[in-house]
Each structure stands twice: as C-alpha cells, then as structure tokens.
C-alpha cells in the first residue's frame, strides 16, 4: 500500500531558530511509530505541521491532502491528542459526546460510551469534576472511538500513573490498532512503548537522526558487554558510545557484525533508551 504520510524537505523556522530542518520521511499504513527526541528537538512542531496546525516550508501530504489547506477534511481521517489536559473544563461528558457526534462523521458514540462505562466517568459529570486521570480516560475514549487512518498521540500519558499507562497501551494495541491504521506516539517514557512499536524515529535539533523498523535495529545495532580485559579490543570496532556498568564496559555498535562481537563478550540488541543516548551523544561529539 502507498504511504499515508509523505514529507519532503520540511522546514519550520521561528525567527532565527530552526525548529524543523529539512526533514523527509514516509509513513506506511499499519505501523506504530515512536517519535523520540529530547525537549526542544522539534517533535511537536513536526507533528503540528503534519496535522495542519502550523505553516511550514516543503511538502507534506497526509492521506493525499495538504494538511494546512485541508485541515477539516484531514480531521476526518486523522485524529490526535495534543495534550491530555485540554478538554474544556466547563463541559459535561454527554454534551461533549453530542458535540463530537454531530461534527465528526467517523465518530462511534456507542464505542466511546462502552469504553467510558469501564471507567468511573459518568455521562452527567462535568470535566472540571473529574480527576486528571479520568479526564485523560475521557479524552482517549473519544479519540479511540473515531475511525481514523492515522492517530497521533503527543505525550498521551504525561503525568498519569503507571497502572493507567500500562492499561492504555494495552488497549491501544489490542482494541484499536489494525493493519489499516497507523499510530504515531511521542513520549519520554521510551521503555513503556518500546515493545509495541514497529518503527522508531529519533529526532534531534530539527533533524531525523534515525528512522528504522524495530527488526532492522536488531540487525544494525549491537550492544556488547565486556570485561576490562576485552575492552580495548572492543573499542577497536569504533563503538558509538561506551558506558561502565558494575566494572564492565557496555559498548554500542552500529553496522558491526554480531558474530565478530560475540567472541568478546555478551551481545544483545540495545534498548531504545540506550540507543537514543548512543545516537545523540555521537551527534554531540
């Protein structure tokens, strides 16, 4: 199938600051992509450009639409959570459902109500009477009841407890995700989403520094743990980074055959968080 999102040469400047710097990428259907980067890396700006919420230079096509010009049409097939604490505080839950039901042709009200019935949120509650977690549940229940091709979640679980976060990602994977849909998630808690991602993109300083499928990461990157005796030999393979754990050296390699490293010590695929640190500290150096 053809790409859902195509971005070519996308840049966004705020005055002299370059938030997104000549970024190009494509996103296929049926993927779960983690967009990972430090604060101020340009993640949110890039997502905003994809969602038609900001002007930009370059070309973006989302489901064949120009997001900035056709935002309303785009929102039929793309749904997003920019921040989970943005629901208006004065509205009642049933009013909110009436509103979305009337304005969104792909919203399935009964699905939202079923999902809400599993929470403590009732239809007559006002948003301001709900706890932070309940507001997030409400928002996510609405968003997940929208039959969208692309779902974009920008820090969807920020400030929520671990039980909620686990339950949310499980529901996302089991009830929402399918071959037709693509989900893009940004989060600081990389470890929590690592096991549900199919693809990962690292962004730093407005540039994409890594864009891989999870399978290819295992082929391309290797983490090696060696004792002090083998450390010098290991360094000969030009690691991206090296750190010390319990008197042993942990080195991350890119494009070095696993078989060669296996002779030196313990070999495994690096976790995303470690890979992220490795890729970015290399950038700094």
């Amino acid at each position: 199938m053809s790409a859902l999102i195509k971005a070519a040469g996308v840049s966004k400047k705020f005055g002299n600051t370059i938030a997104v710097d000549d970024v190009s990428f494509e996103v296929a259907p049926g993927r779960i992509i983690g967009l990972i980067g430090p604060n101020g890396a340009g993640k949110t700006t890039l997502l905003k450009a994809v969602l038609g919420l900001t002007s930009y230079e370059g070309d973006i096509s989302v489901c064949g639409l120009d997001p900035f010009r056709n935002r309303r049409e785009l929102m039929h097939t793309v749904s997003y959570v920019a921040d989970v604490s943005v629901l208006p505080r004065w509205i009642r839950v049933d009013q909110l459902l009436d509103y979305v039901e009337t304005l969104h042709p792909n919203f399935n009200r009964s699905a939202a109500e079923t999902s809400l019935s599993r929470t403590k949120v009732t239809l007559k509650d006002k948003v301001k009477a709900l706890s932070k977690g309940m507001v997030a549940q409400l928002h996510l229940s609405i968003i997940m009841a929208i039959d969208a091709k692309i779902l974009i979640l920008d820090e969807p679980t920020l400030g929520l407890d671990i039980l909620f976060r686990k339950a949310f990602y499980t529901e996302l994977l089991n009830d929402y995700f399918d071959d037709e849909r693509t989900i893009i998630i940004t989060t600081h808690q990389v470890e929590e989403i690592e096991n549900i991602l199919t693809d990962v993109m690292f962004i730093d300083d407005g540039k994409i520094v890594l864009n891989e499928t999870i399978e290819s990461i295992g082929d391309r990157y290797t983490e090696l743990m060696v004792g002090p005796d083998q450390a010098e030999r290991a360094r000969g393979f030009a690691p991206l980074t090296e750190r010390q754990v319990f008197g042993k050296s942990v080195l991350t390699f890119e494009g070095v055959a696993r078989a060669e490293l296996q002779e030196l010590g313990e070999v495994r695929t690096p976790g995303l968080a470690d890979l992220f640190v490795a890729k970015l500290s290399k950038e700094v150096a």
Partner: protein
C-alpha cells in the same frame, strides 16, 4: 450544515451561560418588583377600586400608556442586560479557548476556523437576542397576569380594561423586530470585539478600547477633527432612523409619540420599516465591516493555535 451550526452555537451557550442566565435573572427581578409592590399595596390597603374607576373613565389612553410602560420595563431593561452580556461574551469567545488550551481539542475535530468564528458571531447577533426577547415576552405575559389580578382585586373587568386594550401580538412582534434589527445594526461592533479576542495575549478588554482611544486622540490632536468619534457615535441614534418610520414621515417626531400615547388610531406595526432597514446603506456597510473583522479573527485563530 444546519445541524453543524446548531451544535456549534449550542456549544457557545453551554460555555457562556450568562447569555441566558443574566436576562432571566433580570426578568425575575422585574417580576419580583411588581409582585412586591402589588402585595405591599394590598397590605397597605391601597384603594384598587379607585384606580380601576380611573381606568374606566380614562379609557384607552391610560391603558396604552400602561402597555408602553410594560414594554419599557421588560424590553428596555433586558436590552441593556443583553448588550452587556454580549459584549463580555464577544471579547471572551476566542480568547478563553486559548487561555484554557481547549483550542487544541476543538481544532482536532473536523471543524474549520471559519465555521467556529461564524458560530460565535451567530451566537452574539442572532441566538442571544432571540433568547432575550423570548424572556422579555414571557415577562410581559407574567406582568399582564399580575395586572389582571390587580384589576380583579379592584373589581374591574380585566378583559375589557386590559386584554382588549393592549395589542399584545403587535407588541410581541415589535419587541422581536426591535431586538433583531438593533442586533444586526450593531454587528460590526461584535465583529470588532471578536477580532480583538482572537489575538489578545491577555484580556481583550484593553484592545477593545485602546486603539480606538488612540486613533480618536491622534485625530483630535493632529487633525483637530473628530471624524472617527463622530462615525462611531452616529451609529447609535441612526439605528432607529433606519429601522423605524413614523406616521408623519421618515423622522420620528415628538408629536407622533404623543399621538401614539393619546390613542390615535395607529397600528404599532406601522412603526416598523423592515424594507427601509434592510435596504439601508448603513446596515450593509456594517455587514462589510463585520466581514472584514471576522476574516481577521479567522486568520488569527488559524495561526495562533
């Protein structure tokens, strides 16, 4: 399309309850005032019979004067309340959603910025006055019932003395007409308030008054003239000139009012001049200005999200 606009306006009313609560409370106060004075008169032993006798003699004049007072008290008071709540609504309408960040949610739904801004204008210019005039009409009915009670206490016949005398249908139509024409006439002001609320970083209140004050003062100091102030000022009395006619001609003169009160055979409907109003240049110039401000508001909403 209609269903979409309906829910968008509904949304505004959910958020800004003052648009109907404030006129309802004011109407309640007016009714309450009449009830208190009625009860007080009963306690004090005011001779209702004498008043009724005077009405029977005075006939139509007194009754028509009474009905004029009825419009004055309910419509006039509520018009003032409406102007105040609509003003505060309009300067808040596009600002509050940025302040509480809910704009991020609203814009995640398939609703264009134009639709949203338009729904806010319709709320201020159509929905709010319609609600207020409905409240005014209910208030008038309640007041009529109170007068009926007073007449019954005085031993008069309320059908002859009140209900046959007061042209209630005409009064109601005139009330709707006056509320709606005034509202359309002042649409450019609402457009300007919405525009201010679309870009204001803090309260839009200062943006509403500051530029106008500066422009007026600059013109006064540099040009030694007051054209801006005059144009704004002229908008106010000229509404009645465009929307109403008087039996003696286009100018509404004092003797017309006297004739009216003195019970000359004039239908209240003759006062209304809808064709003259809808074809007046002032109205259409106002619409164009409103359109320009709305376009500005759409532009800022799109960029300032």
């Amino acid at each position: 399309m209609l269903a979409r606009m309906k829910i968008l306006v509904q949304r505004e009313l959910w958020e800004h309850k003052a648009l109907y609560v404030a006129p309802a409370v004011m109407a309640g106060l007016v009714v309450f005032g009449f009830v208190v004075s009625f009860v007080w008169s009963l306690i004090q032993g005011v001779p209702f019979e004498a008043a009724v006798a005077a009405m029977e003699i005075g006939g139509q004049q007194i009754n028509l004067a009474g009905s004029a007072a009825l419009i004055g008290v309910s419509s006039g008071t509520l018009n003032l309340v409406l102007a105040i709540v609509v003003f505060f609504y309009a300067i808040d309408a596009l600002y509050a959603e940025r302040k509480d960040k809910s704009i991020l949610f609203w814009r995640s739904l398939p609703v264009t910025d134009t639709e949203t801004v338009l729904s806010k204008l319709l709320t201020a210019v159509i929905a709010a006055p319609l609600i207020t005039v409905a409240i005014a009409l209910v208030t008038q009915v309640v007041l009529m019932v109170l007068f009926t009670l007073a007449l019954l206490v005085g031993g008069g016949n309320p059908i002859d003395l009140l209900w046959k005398q007061v042209p209630f249908g005409e009064l109601a139509l005139l009330a709707v007409y006056s509320f709606m024409t005034a509202s359309l006439w002042f649409a450019p002001f609402i457009g300007y308030f919405l525009f201010c609320s679309s870009f204001a970083k803090r309260s839009a209140l200062i943006w509403v008054f500051l530029p106008v004050t500066v422009v007026v003062m600059l013109e006064g100091i540099v040009g030694q003239s007051w054209n801006v102030l005059r144009v704004i000022g002229e908008r106010f009395p000229s509404h009645s000139l465009a929307a109403y006619s008087a039996p003696s001609g286009l100018e509404f003169k004092e003797e017309d009012f006297e004739q009216f009160v003195m019970g000359a055979d004039i239908s209240l409907l003759d006062v209304m001049a809808p064709v003259q109003f809808l074809t007046s240049a002032g109205l259409w110039v106002g619409f164009v200005i409103t359109g320009v401000f709305l376009a500005g508001a759409v532009y800022f909403r799109r960029l300032r999200a």
